[in-house]
Symmetry: C2
Subunit: 420 residues, 2 copies
């Protein structure tokens, strides 16, 4: 068993490097690289599964071995939690056993690609502070939260084909906009935004017509990534009624390349999500029965082309936490499948923007600059209301609580390119 | 070349059967069956591509031959229009040449499966009569059409994993409902509906960041199927604000198994869609430049369990046409990709419910019974406001105009099962 409360990395023959480590031996997150297939990060290096199995350093039943030697994680995800844990423990044994550096590759040499083929991507809206802020801005005269908000996790289907890996440049979209009272125009998006989110990769799915109940939901989730759901606010404003966001969201969504497993997150699971005084009762099918809240912290920072050229550090904007969710991933999954909607291995579920209750925890520029009325001063002397060409947005995330070893997620980053 | 204006089926050695034929030699629609892989329907039979190529009756370059011998149409779709046309002509030559019945299989013996893996499914809302009717019912005090409606094809991302082949039973979904002023409940959907639509399968896609312009859009479409976008109206009403329909639509959408190609539909392409007096100008990126309207007719009928047991014919409800669309598939595709959203081979784009301007052309029960206020009398003595368990909904479609040979789409059917 892996002990989360001690520095077990010291037991491993893998050099861990110095400073703050994202990938201690307690983490072992999963990725895919173009040259070697499936990899697991440890310290500044990664285990190449194909190599470790080929050399007999890891031994599994045929279905597991075959899944681990493919070019995406979908087949491994489909095997289920018991097999994920078995492989985690085998990796752990190998990494504290006899030294075998020939199964490793330096992280700096990996070209990471999408870890799984995403069949369907769903984005939720599960942090009430975000929904409240957006409601206040777009519907100033009404209750900022819709009547359904505290009864069910509101979500919508997203565009799987436009989910890209961290480091992919983001082309500024064009689209139909209506900036004023005159006729709409077709033009480059002017109000380009990021959204600070997390995504849950589905491991095992459900057959059409079946449901995934709350007591089993966390078992179906393979792991978590950082998600930046880039958004074109001006396109969104004109298009979104009555069927919801569409083109405003389908040009790109970035994910961090390393999937941190639910097993690795075990010490950071908590009861909840908490309800506030006056919140309505939750219907039975959404009542938490396991510890479903993940205490994952994150921060977003920005740099302009000039800042990078001048060697100026990126500017940290907000800092938030996945504990800001009003609905957990387990609740999202139970609700999503409550109609019998089938999930498949590799499907991705986004949390929605995880704003907290304070200005410095607002998870997108729309909120952070309050629709552009409170611009940000960048260290290069310019201001930002929304993203400019050349801007890079970097999201980092980590778990750190009590005596448990820190678990990191790596980065989710992207630079804005001018429109075509 | 295939001549659409003559009875060329007489030239073929294939027995066509008597009566109204859906699949004359001018049609040659594509499907996939579980046993034989890719098939093309003709008359009451189907060409098994694997067999025809294996026996040397059809000869193609390696990439085409390989694509045609796979278990789904995705690879063939990805080859592009010139190759689709080449294969169509080769099939035609084979079917009027020397008799080779060994490449055929009776339609009645085929177990048809999904013709392609659908990466992403998008549903539009492109018939103004449907949008107007729904607007009148749900927003009686305002303009039934939203201000954006006549400026862009409104659409939303759907759930690819829940698209099923005609003949699949449809499990009545459960979900969160709010039937009255009391607290919401979790219960079986009571207001279950069908939606009479068509779907366009994308053949060749676009890279992320690129666009598909209007003059090229029809070239990217492989073909058309009938689509029934089953809808849970009570779930929809409670969940849809502010992010649009979600669980109300993700339990099942049925498609007809045969994809009728754009080549087969050539004689039924028309200019348009027509704009009405007073409609705003269309922005340049959505202006039609090729004949994008498809004159496809369709009808929906219903039968209850009792009717089928008693041998009573199904009751025809509405009759409509794809010419009722306010936005063409070409416009949907140009708009959808205007942000750089990537399309992949096998993606599906739904038209939205294609209601006409008269009661007998309303394309769903919500409209047809006007929210249940005008119930339907079934021949078994019962009434329908929405679908009951055991009801079967059958949609048929065909093209018939001028001297062109009739082209049929077959059926898209499904029976409602009780909830789990």
């Amino acid at each position: 068993m892996i002990d989360h409360t001690h520095d077990m990395s010291a037991m491993s023959w893998v050099e861990m490097g110095s400073g703050r480590i994202d990938f201690p031996i307690q983490n072992l997150p999963w990725g895919v690289c173009s040259k070697h297939g499936i990899v697991v990060a440890i310290g500044e290096q990664a285990v190449v599964l194909r190599e470790a199995i080929g050399l007999g350093k890891l031994q599994f039943a045929d279905d597991i071995a075959s899944a681990l030697q493919s070019d995406s994680l979908n087949a491994f995800m489909a095997l289920g939690h018991a097999d994920w844990t078995e492989v985690r423990h085998a990796l752990f044994e190998m990494l504290i056993g006899e030294s075998c550096p020939e199964v490793l590759c330096a992280l700096s040499e990996l070209m990471l690609v999408m870890p799984a083929q995403i069949g369907d991507y769903t984005d939720f809206y599960a942090a009430r502070n975000h929904a409240t802020n957006v409601g206040k801005m777009f519907r100033p005269d009404g209750d900022p939260l819709m009547p359904n908000y505290l009864h069910l996790p509101v979500g919508y289907h997203g565009r799987a084909s436009s989910v890209v890996i961290s480091g992919t440049d983001i082309r500024r979209p064009q689209g139909q906009l209506k900036p004023d009272d005159s006729a709409p125009i077709f033009a480059p998006c002017k109000l380009l935004d990021y959204e600070l989110e997390f995504g849950a990769f589905i491991g095992t799915g459900n057959a059409i017509g079946d449901r995934i109940p709350m007591d089993d939901a966390m078992e179906h989730i393979f792991g978590i990534v950082i998600l930046n759901d880039w958004s074109a606010r001006d396109i969104q404003k004109w298009e979104y009624q009555p069927l919801g966001p569409f083109n405003a969201k389908n040009f790109a969504s970035s994910i961090s390349p390393w999937i941190v497993t639910i097993d690795a997150l075990a010490p950071f699971r908590e009861e909840g999500p908490a309800r506030l005084d006056g919140d309505p009762d939750i219907l039975e099918y959404l009542k938490p029965v396991t510890d479903d809240v993940l205490d994952i912290q994150c921060c977003v920072s920005i740099s302009s082309t000039k800042m990078r050229e001048d060697g100026i550090d990126s500017l940290q904007l907000s800092k938030s936490s996945l504990t800001n969710l009003t609905w957990s991933f387990a609740q999202m999954l139970a609700h999503h499948t409550s109609t019998g909607c089938p999930m498949n291995s590799g499907d991705l579920i986004g949390s929605g923007t995880i704003s907290g209750g304070t200005k410095d925890s607002r998870g997108c520029l729309l909120e952070y600059t309050w629709r552009g009325t409170e611009p940000i001063d960048l260290p290069d002397g310019t201001q930002r209301r929304f993203l400019q060409d050349g801007d890079e947005v970097i999201i980092k995330a980590w778990c750190e609580s009590g005596s448990a070893t820190r678990i990191g997620f790596g980065d989710c980053a992207g630079i804005i390119l001018p429109h075509n």
